[in-house]
């Protein structure tokens, strides 16, 4: 039943999109300067229908309607209610539906929010956005339909992968998608802007709040994903430069660059074409990321192993997007008379964009290169953390210095009057670095430089709070927290302690200055899994600190899976992180223990970073 309802609603959505496009085309030809009321109504209807369609799928998951293929494949009647709901977007088909919801709602909101911009610009944005919507609706309807039925109706579902049954991963996709898919609206707007020659600062104003909101959500989405990886995957890290992680980072770089270049466009009316390119690039990278992740190219490296049609469809869609963007830019590009004085805020923002493009290219190349070498020379290579670290980190050092100085520069023409202060701050940063060496231990040259430059950024941004009569709080928060982020990552990376050893019940092990004692192992039966819970005592022989950690080995019923749950004790100074795993054919357990300083501050920094974005969004929305 729900399967039919869903399919019907999907068809209505497709119909709505066609009607919107049709009405818009008529509206374009009408000399009148206002948009037809019927367009608003159809757009509203379209958003409502797609929302109901989504809730139909949620309902199918809630009541465990196994006549729906998607529910059968990804749910189980004994699963907790919360994970039944989050299971809706925890799979390929359901997440695409979420994708279309954001496309549609953003399209509607953009239409009603920008009433003081010209009609043609808004109409073209609407048309292009609806073409995107149609592209994805067709994809859902014909290739990845979440409402496909199955008969005979199975008695029980296959269940959701246990590592996805997690609160962080339940909210991760919606957050990330608001960022990812939210960028579609300024893709459409940028195209509309080129087509209708609506350039300059008014264009910047019409998309600025959309860039801010998608950037903030993207940041949060990436954060939640890394927190999940940290406690769920059991290797104690939070970023592995995995292709799937990179796919979320690439649009983030483009968005960050755009966020800054829009400031120049808004204030000085220059860099228009560059901003448009960034608008187009951001959403293109989002779709590319989706293509790489969904087609199975990256996970298995066997091209299109998962589902060839799925990958092929997105690839064609992606090529069309790129082709149209490049074509429009090529036809409409005009030499603009940008006036930029070398020592000015504009220059520093250009420098920001320059570095962002460098990060983007590096990560893009690292992600795609293995695919090329495999295709060309049949030589599979891995591009992992050592590559990214050695290419990117030296550049970050310089970047942080610019990030500290840049915001102090004035628009149009700047003169640095406070070089002495900057020098003092620099000395302060070096002094603190010495304290760190003194309290922890010495570390490598490059790490020293990272710490010094991040401290330089932190201190000088913090001092901005007191200096000017009028300051930009959201900028200070975001820049400050980016400094803190790099600073704490640096400390965390350099001063983590790791121990890997085997132990059996009742045994005590002494490694360096730590003593480990496996006191107890308990078997517990939970609703949808069995767990072996260990009780492990750790004593630090130097600080006399004692901790008890309870790592788990879980055996899930549906589907039958073994997972290792890390036990984490965290405070403001350090995290104790411990995983336990059984070793086949022996009564020993493998223990991985890590002591990671200032772990929690990495999360706090990123929350602050995105808070800066939200703050800026709210202020901007209030003023306009």
């Amino acid at each position: 039943m729900l399967s039919n309802t869903g399919n019907l609603l999907l068809s209505i959505s497709i119909l709505c999109s066609f009607i919107v496009v049709y009405q818009s085309l008529i509206c374009l030809k009408t000399p009148n300067n206002s948009i037809f009321k019927s367009i608003y109504q159809t757009s509203l209807l379209q958003s409502t229908v797609i929302l109901i369609c989504f809730f139909t799928l949620v309902a199918a998951f809630l009541v465990s309607d196994f006549s729906v293929m998607n529910v059968y494949q990804n749910s189980h009647s004994l699963k907790p209610v919360f994970y039944k709901i989050s299971g809706t977007w925890g799979n390929h088909e359901g997440s695409l539906l979420l994708w279309v919801i954001i496309l549609t709602i953003f399209s509607f909101l953009f239409l009603i929010q920008n009433k003081n911009h010209p009609k043609n610009y808004r109409i073209y944005t609407l048309i292009i956005q609806n073409i995107l919507i149609l592209g994805f609706l067709f994809f859902i309807f014909f290739n990845s339909n979440p409402f496909s039925s199955i008969s005979p109706i199975p008695k029980e579902g296959l269940g959701l992968n246990p590592i996805l049954q997690d609160p962080a991963l339940a909210i991760h996709p919606p957050l990330l998608y608001i960022g990812f898919v939210g960028s579609s609206i300024y893709f459409s707007a940028a195209m509309a802007s080129i087509i209708t020659d609506y350039s300059g600062k008014f264009f910047a104003q019409s998309i600025k709040s959309w860039v801010l909101i998608s950037w903030s959500f993207q940041t949060l989405g990436i954060l939640v994903g890394s927190i999940w990886a940290y406690y769920e995957l059991g290797w104690g890290g939070f970023w592995f430069w995995d292709p799937v992680e990179n796919a979320s980072l690439l649009p983030w770089f483009a968005m960050t660059a755009l966020l800054h270049s829009l400031l120049v466009l808004e204030k000085r009316n220059t860099l228009y074409f560059w901003s448009v390119i960034l608008c187009l690039l951001t959403f293109t990278l989002s779709v590319m990321g989706t293509f790489l992740v969904r087609s199975g190219i990256l996970n298995s490296v066997h091209t299109f192993a998962n589902d060839p049609t799925r990958g092929l469809y997105i690839l064609i869609f992606l090529s069309l997007m790129i082709f149209t963007s490049v074509y429009l830019l090529f036809v409409k590009f005009k030499q603009t008379n940008d006036q930029i004085y070398p020592n000015s805020k504009e220059t520093f923002i250009l420098i920001n964009n320059w570095f962002m493009m460098f990060y983007l290219i590096t990560v893009l190349l690292g992600t795609l290169y293995p695919i090329f070498t495999d295709a060309i020379s049949n030589n599979k290579i891995s591009v992992g953390p050592p590559f990214y670290n050695s290419v990117i980190i030296p550049i970050v050092i310089v970047f942080l210095i610019f990030m500290a100085i840049g915001p102090k520069a004035k628009w149009i023409k700047n003169k640095f009057s406070n070089l002495k202060n900057l020098f003092l701050i620099f000395c302060g940063a070096i002094a603190i670095n010495f304290l760190i060496i003194y309290f922890f231990k010495s570390y490598s040259l490059i790490s020293n430089l990272i710490i010094v430059s991040s401290l330089f950024l932190i201190i000088s941004t913090f001092l901005d709070l007191f200096k000017k009569p009028k300051f930009n709080l959201s900028r200070i928060i975001s820049h400050l927290s980016f400094g803190l982020l790099i600073f704490f990552i640096g400390l965390n990376h350099n001063f983590s302690v790791e121990k890997d050893f085997n132990i059996k019940l009742g045994e005590t092990k002494k490694i360096d200055s730590y003593k480990f004692f496996l006191q107890d192992l308990k078997l517990e039966q939970k609703t949808n899994y069995k767990a072996v819970i260990g009780k492990l005592q750790i004593s630090d022989l130097i600080t006399k600190e004692k901790k008890t950690l309870n790592p788990e080995i879980r055996i899930y019923d549906n589907p039958q899976t073994l997972t290792y749950e890390a036990s984490i004790k965290s405070n403001f100074f350090r995290d104790y992180y411990l995983t336990m795993s059984n070793i086949d054919r022996s009564d020993y357990y493998n223990i991985k223990f890590q002591k990671k300083p200032f772990m929690i501050w990495i999360w706090i920094s990123v929350v602050m970073l995105s808070f800066g974005g939200f703050l800026s969004f709210m202020r901007y929305a209030k003023n306009n």
Binding site: W354, T373, S382, I430, S442
Partner: protein
């Protein structure tokens, strides 16, 4: 003053990096090796039989007095370059290692060009 401080830091860190060279960090080597039977994990993070075996192989090679690079070479000869998370710097990977910096330099040139052209006009 600035130079002095810089020199002190430089030698301090040089000292520390030299010190680190003395003993081979087993864990660091593990982190640079891909667990071939897992999905995107290093052997340091994995508990698979493959990872456990490979860790023993690495330990064995270290005991035999092999250097870090020799260990990587031994393993990549055996399992292919797929096992190394740090791609080799060779002809095939030349583009990978150099393109980011080439783009970086090009970007710098574009900005300088842009600024010079504008300031000449005014």
């Amino acid at each position: 003053m600035k130079i002095k401080i810089f020199l002190i830091i430089f030698f301090l860190s040089l000292n520390s990096s030299l010190y680190a060279e003395k003993s081979l960090d087993e864990n660091k080597i593990h982190k640079n090796l891909r667990c071939l039977v897992c999905q995107g994990q290093s052997i340091a993070d994995s508990n698979s039989d493959f990872a456990i075996t490979l860790k023993m192989v690495v330990k064995d090679l270290i005991d035999k007095g092999k250097t870090e690079d020799e260990i990587y070479k031994f393993l990549s000869d055996k399992y292919g370059d797929w096992i190394l998370y740090n791609p080799k710097f060779n002809l095939g990977n030349f583009v990978l290692w150099s393109l980011p910096y080439a783009v970086f330099i090009l970007g710098g040139i574009i900005i300088v060009f842009l600024l010079r052209k504008k300031s000449k006009k005014t």
